[in-house]
């Protein structure tokens, strides 16, 4: 049966906002796996770390699998040590940097979308290392996803809702946009809970900045492609938390996955939840990521 997952929260929400979202997910959402933890910037986690135990308890009590996500870019010892500690815990860990993969070798773990799994040979290697679920990079076309999903002896997960992470950097573009330096950033990223809009000179939208991460402005919405992806062997479908009612988003995706709702109707319902944000599905269609094909 197809599983629905909630990806790690990429944005810097107020701790209470974060906790409340997870409580609702635990209590109300038809989600099977929830990814927790900081992927973007190690400076942020101390601000909400204290809430994690109760979030984990609530999710576990609701029968949802909890996955600890880790940083996409690890550069300091402090970060390495924190992750090494996490890898020693009982919960399953998502590796987003090769260092984490190295720490998790031999133990069941999940590889995140920031690990470049573009072909069968790399996938096989990661499975031999202990990966039990593989997240494919957002850039892959439907054809490539199908090839890899069919080949994959373990679980395959892809992103089907939310802003697509396009790049990561050491430089904090959020700070730069606000005229401050990363070391004394005052957590300006908290000002933009859905990412800071970075538009073209013409005013047309293009990207969203989130700390050191750059994301698509459009939400990837892969409702019409769900059936084909299921048929190809994708087992897990990831929703990335955005400023939208994620419980209702999950309900829509669950219904379409189960065949209780057709994709077009699902999309219409989704539009009510996502305001003015445009949708994109270019990558899965083998085109430029920012394209939207509604056929």
């Amino acid at each position: 049966m197809s599983k629905l997952t909630l990806g790690p929260l990429f944005f810097q929400w107020k701790p209470e906002q974060r906790r409340d979202m997870y409580f609702r997910i635990a209590d109300e959402a038809p989600i099977d796996s929830v990814y927790l933890g900081e992927v973007v910037c190690s400076k942020r986690e101390p601000l909400y770390y204290d809430y994690l135990p109760e979030i984990i308890d609530r999710l576990n009590a609701a029968g949802k699998q909890v996955v600890l996500s880790t940083l996409a870019l690890i550069t300091s010892d402090r970060e390495l040590n924190a992750i090494a500690e996490r890898c020693g815990e009982a919960m399953i860990v998502e590796a987003n940097d090769v260092a984490s993969i190295s720490l998790l070798k031999g133990r069941p773990h999940i590889t995140g979308p920031f690990i470049n799994v573009f072909n069968e040979a790399t996938l096989d290697f990661l499975v031999r290392q202990g990966a039990v679920r593989i997240n494919l990079p957002v850039e892959l076309s439907g054809k490539a996803i199908a090839t890899l999903a069919r080949h994959n002896p373990v679980e395959t997960e892809i992103l089907v809702f939310g802003r697509q992470p396009l790049s990561v950097s050491m430089r904090c573009y959020h700070s730069r946009a606000y005229g401050v330096h990363k070391d004394s950033c005052q957590f300006v990223c908290e000002t933009d809970p859905d990412g800071l809009a970075a538009s073209q000179l013409t005013g047309a939208p293009l990207l969203r900045v989130n700390g050191t991460q750059t994301m698509s402005h459009g939400y990837a919405v892969l409702l019409r492609e769900l059936a084909a992806l299921q048929a190809a062997g994708v087992t897990h479908f990831r929703l990335s938390p955005q400023v939208a009612d994620m419980v209702q988003v999950a309900e829509i995706y669950r219904s379409v996955l189960d065949g209780d709702l057709d994709a077009e109707s699902g999309e219409a319902l989704l539009r009510n939840l996502t305001g003015e944000t445009p949708y994109v599905n270019g990558y899965v269609r083998g085109r430029e990521g920012m394209a939207w094909a509604d056929a």
Partner: protein, 333 residues
Amino acid sequence: MRDIAYLELVCPAGTPAALRTAIDAGADTVYCGFRDCTNARNYPGLNFDAKELREGVAYAHARGRWVIVAINTFPRAGDIGPWHRAIDTAAECGADAVILADIGLLDYAMRKHPNLRRHLSVQAAASNPLSIDFYRETFGISRVVLPRVLEVDEVATLISRMKVEAEVFAFGSVGTMVEGRCTLSSYITGRSPSSDGVCAPAEFVHYREDGAFMESCLGDVVTNRYAKNENAAYPTPCKCRLVTNDNASYLFEEPVGLNAVSILPQLKAAGVTALKIEGRQRSRAYVGQVVTAFRAVLDALARGETMPQAAADLHAIAEGGRETLSALKKGWK
């Protein structure tokens, strides 16, 4: 054993003619790619076939230099053949090393050609000692090209914990994102450095004169506007002007070129052993000028001089006439 003065000078060769130019100008090592998407400079008219590589290797070896082959993109699902053939061909032609990024490819190269030196591409984004050690232990890499996002102190710390050679970019175009994991180009054009070996390919680039302005466009995206006498730049996505909070700026990075010539002594002190010049897509003339200048600088430093005159030539050549130490300098983040 080669006779390296101060630091190994690793230079780009987009064509056989550029390879000869680089060697003649004093490169210790040249790096090149094949004429397909197995390397991250897959541009029309550029790169080598097997015959040209063989000839290039002969030319270099006759002069005591090295040729290394970049096979640094990520092979496509269901189509790994071209990449395996590229590695096999590089080995047959006598290349001194291959530069790889993909885990599956590193595995293949190690098993099939254990004696072919393996360098870890910057596209593998190995940014900490654990990652680098993982690649060394698992795939026997001898050298890592460090990401262009580290400060000199960080480079020093990293190198002190590494057991492989460190190569650092010293001149040329710099992207500001972690390489090998940037999909900005494919978001806009459908083509990416990781999969297709191109960033912002020229077929999606056009310029429009609009009265007193010139607009540069990548696909449907307007990347910049230039006033009449303002220098234009190539519209890679990380160098475009974007608007945030009603303020237009070079959000990611100014369109300047990296020039680390002023900190070569610090890089050497940090343990760096090789300098990489970026620019396989640049002209032979450019390669000749840059390599000549760097050769003069390195020879002077080897003799114990402090800031050689040749360094001044490099300032003039740096991209757009504006240059930066980029991430190497404190405060870049």
